[in-house]
Amino acid sequence: MIVFALRRTLGFAATLLLAALAIFFLLDLLPGDPAQFILGISATPEKLAVLRTQLGLDAPAHERFVGWVWGMLQGDFGTSYTQQAPVAGLIWERLAVTLPLAGLAMILSVLVGLPLGIIAARWRGKGVDTSIMVLAQMGVAVPSFWFGMLLTLLFAVALRWLPPGGFTPWSENPLLALRGLVLPSIALALPQASILARVMRTALVDVRGQDFIRTARAKGLTMGEAIWRHGVRNALLPVLTILGLQLAILITGTIIVENVFYLPGLGRLIFTAIGERDLVLVRGATIILVLAVTATMLLTDIAYALVDPRLRERSPS
């Protein structure tokens, strides 16, 4: 097991390094720079020059890259050009919104998606199965921001049960903060729950045909008992892979929902920071996102190996 974990961690580190390189040099290609943005309409060549040196924009690229990576290893992500505040602090504030949002959406999609998938598989071909599958089709097809709008209109504006958006920091009032995340996480969870339901149903239907289920029935179990004792665990393997991927998609995909519910998430931070050419902030936020996603994928792989002994020794793909 250790060799397996070691191999995957090495892959993880390689992906991160690749990401750091790509982010840094790709972002450098962007035309325009933070100095211009800060001075805006009143920019004059001398003022631009002064500001650029102040912000350290004119050092050669490779030097800045090494400085950036070395700083990151010590937890210092540099200071934001436009907001003149430590990038690490800014990102941490925003992560406190994006991660719980992604987490809540994940939990919701599991609590809704998996049971629906199991029910659909249990009554395969019956009415409940087809209706769940049609719902799942709809769930995947609805654009998330449109769905978010409908949710806000119903629950926030008309029924006044939930806030239409905005976010009160956890430190100030955790309950309000949580209430603020309910609608956005539902909007995010809908497509993911639909995918989960379909994958769970397919996995369970396929497992019915496996030989070891027939052996279990031969041992004296009914079909239902055989599936419950042997089938479900095997069916969870493909579901586990999808879960890992979905969490990754959720983390990077919250930007649109953050916009609809005006949540101060990491996605929107990156979006506005790029607009302001605040590249040191964009770099920091993006590498954190990449870190979060690759860490999720690493954990999924390890979890997969824990569940499936076949992966432990054989050199994993």
């Binding site: 720079d33 001075l39 309409i41 504030e93 239409p164 958006g165 905005g166 005006y262």
Partner: protein, 493 residues
């Protein structure tokens, strides 16, 4: 069909608003604004969003601009100007303290202006204050400034956000923890979400009515609509015109329509052919149908302008008649200029709703006279880089929101590149005189030259369409200066 929908909107709003007001304490207000400021120090950044939060709320200048654009006494209670109009002596208010308790006196004023004029200063309008050659502290409550030449609008410029008085002890971290002398003190800033201010107890001036004010940052129009309807936000100073219909005729809300200093123009690159040819510019002016653009882009809110000057300004003269909408005349002029079957050009648009919408409308209007426009939408930083700094553009649409910025046309390096010595001389004379009658005469002459030269396509003055809770009063109808002054705002019930 639509009135059914409107009543639905109404019903929703009614349900929303009733419950909404009960929650908010009478002395608190939550204001929705579209853009979040990058920093909170108005002396170190040009963005309008900074002044919206801090100007005359947290920070104050020597003078103060009121809602009609007039100069009023600020921290300087009164002042005397020397006969040669080169020396200003200011008597400062007594018992004024900064929010961190430190005292305010002439030294702070001297420090503020030295900081603006310093070598590494990043002040957005340093050039307005370069004429100051000497600052002398006569006593803790009197300070004297001498200029090297007469500046007609000096007192107005002292009232801008860029010239607010800061203390040496707190100046450096005003970006994130602003310390000023204003009626409201800074509480906290949750980046990406909101800024909270509260009334500053020991404020030297008249006390304000509000105990707490929160700015909530919502960039998306539909989300702002929901926030207003749900009572999550009590009002906004500038709401997107296309969605105003939701609040029209709704007793829970009031719509404040006013003017701004935003002259919206079709920026034309005068250096680049064919735009260096006057006939071509005249043809384009004739091709523009201003009223159709206003109806389409801002749903009828906004006043047509014939020259780059704000209609609410006393010096304004209506020159919209110079080149009336006339397709045939436009075609004729194009033919005379050597473009019988028109030409094609690019129209680079910054990411603001009025620009994107009017861009499309102008493209279809120009198409009628044979000018084929290719629309290129770009981000603000990219617009600044390509259009504003490198002048790599044919046409663009932008609104100049700074007060009295007709002087830009006297700067040949400005992005649209207009170089008319006669006009430049006129502007220098205008800046040099303080006599009202003479200034008005010169201003009118300046506007006429620009109108006739059709330097740019003058479209309309951006209107300010605020949507507020009906029970709120004291909000400024117009915005003659960048900012959202909270001083007079209070709940009526």
């Amino acid at each position: 069909m639509t009135n059914l929908m409107k009543s639905l909107g109404l019903a929703l709003a009614l349900a929303g608003a009733m419950a909404g007001t009960a929650l908010a304490q009478p002395s608190e207000v939550r204001i929705g604004v579209a853009l979040e400021p990058p920093i909170l120090d108005p002396t170190a950044g040009a963005a309008e969003a900074i002044d919206i939060v801090v100007y005359q709320n947290i920070f104050e200048g020597l003078t103060r601009i009121d809602q009609n654009g007039e100069v009023q006494p600020g921290l300087a209670r009164e002042w005397t100007i020397s006969p040669d109009q080169l020396t200003y002596t200011f008597k400062l208010a007594e018992g004024v303290t900064f929010h961190d308790g430190t005292a305010f006196d002439a030294e702070d004023v001297k420090f503020t202006f030295e900081r603006i004029l310093a070598e590494d200063s990043v002040n957005a309008h340093k050039e307005f204050f370069t004429p100051i050659t000497a600052m002398t502290v006569i006593d803790p409550l009197t300070v004297e400034m001498t200029l090297d030449h007469v500046v007609g609008r000096f007192l107005f410029d002292l009232g801008r956000g860029d010239a607010v008085i800061v203390a040496p002890e707190s100046a450096d971290n005003n970006a994130n923890e602003p310390i000023g002398t204003g009626p409201f003190a800074f509480v906290q800033w949750n980046k990406g979400s909101r800024v909270v201010l509260e009334a500053y107890g020991p404020y030297w001036g008249e006390p304000v009515h509000l105990s707490k004010a929160t700015y909530v940052f919502i960039s998306d129009t539909s989300t702002m609509t929901n926030a207003l309807l749900a009572g999550d936000v009590d009002g906004t100073n500038n709401f997107a015109t296309e969605a105003l219909g939701v609040f029209e005729g709704n007793p829970q809300y009031q719509i404040l329509v006013g003017t701004t200093e935003g002259e919206t123009i079709l920026g034309t690159n005068n250096r680049k052919p064919p735009f260096d040819n006057l006939k071509v510019r005249q043809a384009m002016a004739h091709a523009l149908d201003r009223q159709a653009i206003i109806d389409g882009a801002t749903y009828g809110y906004g006043t047509p302008i014939g020259a780059p000057f704000a209609p609410h300004n006393p010096y304004y003269v209506d020159l919209t008649g110079t080149y009336p909408h006339d397709v045939e005349k436009a075609k004729a002029l194009l033919a005379e200029a050597g473009f019988p079957d028109g030409f094609s050009a690019t129209l680079k648009l910054p990411p603001v709703a009025y620009a994107r919408l009017s861009g499309q409308i102008i493209a279809s209007q120009f198409a009628e006279v044979g000018i084929k426009l290719e629309l290129i939408n770009m981000e603000f930083a990219q617009w600044l880089d390509e259009v504003y700094t490198n002048n790599d553009f044919d046409l663009t649409i932008i609104s100049h929101v700074e007060p009295f910025d007709i002087g830009n046309y006297a700067n040949p390096d400005y992005y649209f590149g207009y170089d008319n010595p006669q006009f430049q001389a006129l502007i220098t004379e205008l800046n040099g005189t303080t006599d009202e009658a003479r200034r008005k005469e010169l201003a009118v002459e300046a506007q006429t030259i620009l109108a006739n030269d059709a330097v740019n396509g003058y479209l309309f003055e951006l209107a300010q369409t605020g949507v507020w809770n009906a029970k709120l009063t004291g909000m400024w109808q117009n915005s003659p200066i960048e900012g959202l002054v909270l001083r007079d705002i209070r709940w009526t019930e």
